[in-house]
């Protein structure tokens, strides 16, 4: 074996081990106990493959890959920027960062497709028909993921108005997609440079148009969908380059991402086509009038209720995270646990901005994950629960979702907070939730409203508990 052959075998072996490490990494990330090592395994996999690729030289006698300096500079600058932004971002802003990094991956896949097609158009590198078809399809998906994710990022970051709609929008979007598809087919049949440029322009434009009308509430589903898109694009471009590691890693993410997107959409009671092609609550069906009134409670009385309770379930929502109250709420929980209360956190699948986002936010505050329960596990426990505390959650605890067929959230799975013996809702004012509908829970006889900012309410409750301890009560 010559040394060139040896290096080639070593590079292939490194790609193979990268593929193994990536799959095992995802596998380990699917359990909370091994999750952290999972990302590290996957990280080692990519690192090995990247280092090996620097020695992927097609010129005899040359050790390093051509344009090695250019490659190194691009990696260095980008890694520094991404590393810094990823370290600095607040946990509440995580979803848009995932969108941004995902979009970059889609753009990278599209760039690979563009280069393969351009090289073929100039007669440098022949592509089989299969390869050019997949190069075009991968580039289309990657481009959509690229510009679409950037729009999603800008919307969540608040740099762009949440929705952008005009009449005939769906027709325009449909035409743009059709244009991109036809141009793509023409690129496959006649590899011409200007056709390739037009195709990419249409594909990139379609990603923007497709994402513009989608509202903030649906963004998690969209980000997850684009994540799957990028995976598929990487898999297809991997086929174009005949690189099995890319095919496997990309396709695994494509499939996993598609499943994850469906799970999320299901948890939000939305179908994926619903998210992409219609507007949330667009029907504007007015919900039935709710009778009764909201009954306020002050913090001292609420603290006494907690003092007498045995089983307490806390239901946090995104409002809690916005108020940065998760640390205070955990402090309150620790005070309750110290007094031998059974405290649990109930998490709706879409609490926060992505499924599982709330778990991350609670974890950041130091809440151990075994105190955190999923909706399906905790719902049977509400009837035995003495006090349920709702903080910053609204639509996900609204019993209207089960009872009122005219409501836009009808059919959405909810937390059965309404069945608890006593409910305390911590809320700043009387406003409605994300979906803009009245919450029947707030009007129930067993429900009391504690009007306060999340942090302030938790502080007062802690003080109230200590006052009861001191024997003074109130």
């Amino acid at each position: 074996m010559t040394s060139a052959q040896l290096i080639s075998v070593l590079i292939q072996a490194s790609y193979f081990s990268a593929a193994v490490l990536l799959i095992m990494g995802i596998k380990r990330m699917s359990s909370p106990v091994t999750a952290r090592s999972g990302i590290q395994w996957a990280g080692v996999g990519v690192l090995i493959a990247v280092i090996a690729t620097f020695f992927h030289s097609e010129v005899p006698g040359q050790v390093l890959i051509a344009n090695a300096a250019l490659i190194f500079i691009a990696i260095a600058i980008s890694t520094m920027l991404a590393w810094y932004s990823g370290k600095k971002v607040a946990m509440t802003d995580m979803p848009q960062m995932v969108a941004l990094y995902n979009g970059m991956g889609g753009g990278s896949a599209a760039a690979i497709g563009a280069m393969a097609l351009l090289a073929a158009a100039m007669g440098e590198h022949a592509l089989s028909r299969q390869q050019s078809v997949l190069a075009v399809v991968g580039a289309l998906i990657g481009s959509v993921s690229f510009t679409g994710s950037l729009i999603a990022f800008m919307k969540l970051q608040g740099w762009m108005d949440k929705t952008f709609r005009f009449t005939g929008q769906q027709a325009v979007n449909g035409l743009c997609f059709l244009g991109a598809a036809v141009l793509g087919a023409m690129v496959v049949w006649h590899l011409q440079t200007n056709m390739i440029v037009l195709f990419f322009a249409a594909a990139l434009l379609f990603g923007i148009l497709m994402t513009l009308p989608i509202g903030g509430a649906d963004m998690p589903v969209v980000i997850s969908l684009y994540n799957a898109f990028t995976g598929l694009a990487v898999g297809f471009e991997g086929y174009v380059q005949q690189n099995v590691a890319l095919i496997i890693a990309g396709t695994v993410v494509g499939a996993a991402g598609t499943l994850l997107t469906r799970l999320m959409a299901k948890a939000m009671n939305r179908s994926i086509s619903n998210v992409l092609f219609s507007n949330f609550g667009g029907g504007g069906a007015s919900a039935a009038e709710i009778k009764g009134s909201m009954k306020p409670i002050d913090a001292d009385d609420a603290a006494s209720l907690l003092y007498l309770a045995e089983k307490i379930i806390i239901v946090p929502g995104y409002g809690m995270a916005v108020a940065q109250a998760q640390h205070k709420i955990w402090e309150l929980s620790q005070q309750l646990i110290k007094r031998d209360k059974d405290v649990k956190f109930a998490i709706h699948p879409v609490a926060g901005r992505m499924p599982g986002h709330m778990n991350v936010l609670l974890a950041e505050a130091g809440v151990p994950y075994d105190l955190i329960a999923d909706m399906d596990d905790i719902n049977p426990e509400f009837p035995n629960c003495d006090v349920a505390i709702v903080i910053g959650a609204n639509d996900v605890v609204n019993p209207v979702a089960k009872t009122d067929k005219s409501s836009p959230i009808y059919g959405m799975p909810i937390l059965d907070v309404a069945k608890a013996k006593q409910v305390i809702v911590i809320k700043r004012g009387k406003g409605t939730g994300f979906a803009g509908i009245e919450n029947a829970l707030f009007y129930q006889d067993n429900c009391r409203m504690l009007y306060a900012d999340g942090q302030e309410a938790a502080n007062k409750l802690i003080a109230g508990l200590k006052a009861v301890d001191a024997g003074g009560g109130h």
Partner: protein, 104 residues
């Protein structure tokens, strides 16, 4: 050359793998997992490096540079963000109970 049906088998098996791995994931890990799978497709960086390695004209080099830049951002950003999220997952049982005490 991986071609025709061989490629089809490869795509099929990889797709099943992805589906299987995810289907048993608790909801609490959905966000970190989405972020983690976002890192996994950061392997696209390798493809972009190879593409830039084959670039000859300035236009190709420019597109390739962008490709590597974006791919590296995907990989590095995806890694940091996922690692930060997963770092925070702790159990209150076993060794976690000490940490809990220390935190108060």
């Amino acid at each position: 050359m991986i071609d025709g049906f061989l490629a089809l088998y490869l795509f099929m098996l990889a797709a099943f793998t992805g589906h299987e791995i995810i289907s048993r994931v608790p909801v609490i890990l959905h966000t970190p997992l989405m972020s983690g799978s976002n890192f996994v497709h950061g392997i696209v960086l390798v493809g972009a490096m190879i593409a830039l390695g084959e670039a000859t004209t300035p236009l190709q080099q420019a597109i390739g540079f962008i490709g590597v830049f974006l791919g590296a951002g995907n990989a590095a950003g995806g890694y940091v963000v996922t690692e930060r999220m997963l770092e925070m997952f702790k159990s209150s049982k076993k060794p976690g109970s000490d940490q809990q005490g220390a935190k108060q």
